[in-house]
Symmetry: C2
Subunit: 451 residues, 2 copies
């Protein structure tokens, strides 16, 4: 994921409020059909849901999504927007989806940012020599040739860095012309000298200065030094470069619907990652279960009434770039989008589904989630989340995101620690099962989800 | 700490057995004096123990050991054997102990290893390019000029690396002449791409080859690649150098005993660290609470019958080098060593004391630990631990080590993550209180601990 946005907190509250307002008037209808009939219809999927779960968790497909993810990330490594690795990843996945026998496998062209980190380093020179682990932020400009020493005469403490959430804004009122660069404490509750990267944007009209994240440990040490009245000088060297936008693709595969092929349940994760670690958690896992869900249904010969479409986004980390272009291209058919799903918060032990939609749609989804009782993931939470699907949700399409036990997510997010070692085959089996059951049943119901 | 030694597992079992054998015949005497009288004598320290605890945990000394440790490690940084930083650390501490008003502050010369890491890197070339995070092991030789590519045709899997414990031995029967270097999976249950270092020794008569630790993540990935039948090639470059032994010092400070100044309770931690992170946990914390204990007693005007001697060892990480020389110099007075204490397993939330000694001595220590009821750390465990005091314990001197909630110890041990960020002032207050109460009471009892 790109990094939670502060404005989403507001959205969350509004969604919650809207739901409370509906609590006292539980829906008796889900569009054209009386609700009890829909509930009965959904309950009739109990056996097929069980067969999907059995295949994913105990059957021949056991550990397949994990093994596929391991092969993918071990072979390609990380794959940042604009990189040769991302091209390789898209080719790998295009070929793998076709080989898997999925339908309508194709690539949809998009233009994506092309920023290259280059060599970077930060050396503390005062009060003592100390090599700092850093990661420049995406879109950052380089430092002037040879690096530039920064003193804390320019330092401006950010109030309550722990409370700021994963978006950092430059404090207001700071005379930006006096600042040569910004060093930001990595936004994580835990670190083993592990700096985080991420995307940043320059406000229009201000001078562009280099920006990098330092470790929690170094930030805490510098805070102690500053408190002691010590002068801190750091030599920062960054050779980042921004190139013209690059050509890339969103990667698509389908199981075409038997009755309403034009109507779509969209499953997704993003194929790009940051340029550190393996991008296994963010978002290899989400991409792979979105593939795996289709594989499971294909293996069972299940073709729903509507089309199941897996889309593996390009350049999510730069602000959902690939997904935005997909939306612009396909929004003309918005009435055919039944449900948009994204997994981008990790594929750890699944807890349930986060959902954004009308109270009527929520009531349907709550019935669907009951089908997941065999793996104890029946919870339907508020607020479907994901930068790649939020424009659909904003436009009124029901949206769902996978909710997992993510307490360690930000330990690894955008670091060199985002590797296959944080993934578990058992957890991925469960995520795949949940993803496949929800997608299949919603795509196969007689009626589309009410808006 | 240097790394737990496998042979200590055996020692532990024997100690445990010896204790069980004594369980059915609880001591009625602690040397010359009937045991009930000793217990009563110890109970009379309840009030003084409380005053020590109050000062450390709630009083003027609150957070002092933490603040001192932060100033020390932020100022000096890490301080590996033979380095200029270790010299600076010893000077810093000598000056600080004198300034604190402790007695007989002096340095005792020792000779210590001088190994310098130099630049090092590992680049995977096949099956794909990947920069690996590594840390060479202490005493390792360098690679030939320009680095050397290693293929996994030479790789030899170590069975159950998780079970091996922190000492790794080269598997028997491996034709060492065919091996150019060894890459070892870092021995930790958790990693964020964080390699560990440590000391290694070459067996006599074998060719010396370079040795480095790789991350858990890379080791797991290489295992997956090998399982897939992929050829792995890594270019390893290490420029480590070993220089002649360097001059250094054990650092000593005392509160001289009022009745038996020649009799000693020794408190210790080691001042050296590895050449990564800040060496705050290993073993800045242990060194600092061994200083703090004396400060607390001095502040309260408490001078025990016997001498309290804090020794901050040099070159523990290379095999207890400074402590071995101390033992050789002072063992002539072994009968005057009442109790030897070492804190080298972290200064996290204290649980109690680990103790090695006769059943009679254990009975006394169990009474002493009851004085720590106000901070709920009354547990007396088996097996006093610590490479710097083990020769005293082997020779029959009672030994004690601080037992803390150390479940995360090996996450940070010998990594760049061993910084002040893993320390807590509250936990260090409690450790200091425990350390001071035990040392003071044992040093002040009418009789020495029975052997």
């Amino acid at each position: 994921m790109q990094g939670r946005q502060i404005k989403q907190c507001g959205l969350f509250s509004l969604t919650l409020l809207a739901t409370f307002l509906h609590c006292s008037c539980l829906p008796h209808s889900t569009g054209g059909k009386p609700f009890p009939e829909t509930a009965e219809e959904i309950a009739s999927y109990t056996k097929v849901a069980k067969s999907i779960i059995d295949l994913a968790v105990y059957g021949n497909a056991q550990n397949r999504s994990y093994e596929r993810l391991a092969d993918f990330t071990d072979t390609i490594g990380n794959r940042v927007s604009g990189s040769k690795n991302l091209d390789l990843a898209i080719k790998y996945m295009f070929s793998a989806l076709r080989k898997d026998g999925l339908e309508n496998v194709h690539l949809e062209p998009v233009k994506i940012p092309h920023w290259v980190r280059g060599e970077e380093s930060a050396m503390m020179l005062q009060p003592r020599n100390h090599t700092m682990a850093i990661l420049g932020l995406g879109s950052s400009v380089a430092t002037p040739q040879g690096g530039r020493p920064m003193g804390n005469s320019m330092a401006y403490p950010w109030p309550n860095p722990n409370d700021a959430g994963p978006i950092v804004r430059c404090p207001m009122g700071l005379p930006i012309t006096a600042v040569w660069a910004t060093l930001i404490r990595s936004i994580t509750p835990f670190s083993i000298n592990s700096p985080h990267t991420g995307w940043q944007d320059y406000q229009e009209g201000v001078q562009k200065i280099p920006t990098a994240c330092i470790t929690v440990e170094d930030a805490m040490m510098m805070a102690r030094m500053a408190k002691r009245g010590q002068r801190i000088v750091v030599r920062l060297t960054m050779n980042a470069q921004t190139f013209p936008d690059a050509d890339s693709f969103n990667t698509v595969a389908e199981i075409i619907g038997s009755e309403h092929p034009e109507q779509v349940v969209l499953l997704s994760g993003h194929l790009d990652s940051w340029d550190v670690g393996q991008g296994a958690m963010d978002d290899g896992g989400g991409a792979l279960i979105s593939w795996e869900a289709l594989s499971l249904l294909k293996d069972l010969g299940l073709r729903p009434r509507r089309t199941l479409r897996t889309v593996l986004w390009s350049a999510e980390e730069q602000g959902g770039v690939g997904a935005q272009q997909y939306f612009q291209l396909h929004k003309v058919n918005i009435s055919n989008f039944n449900l948009v799903m994204e997994s981008d918060l990790g594929t750890f032990s699944p807890l349930g589904l986060q959902f954004t939609g009308s109270a009527q749609a929520r009531a349907v989804m709550a019935e669907v989630m009951k089908l997941l009782k065999p793996i104890n993931t029946t919870t339907l939470e508020e607020h479907g989340e994901g930068i790649d699907i939020e424009m659909w949700m904003d436009a009124g399409v029901p949206g769902a995101s996978l909710h997992v036990a993510d307490s360690r997510y930000f330990w690894f997010h955008h670091t060199n620690g985002d590797t296959m070692s944080v993934q578990s085959p058992i957890e991925m089996n469960l995520c795949s099962a949940l993803w496949a059951v929800v997608a299949y049943v919603v795509a196969d119901l007689e009626e589309m989800l009410p808006r």
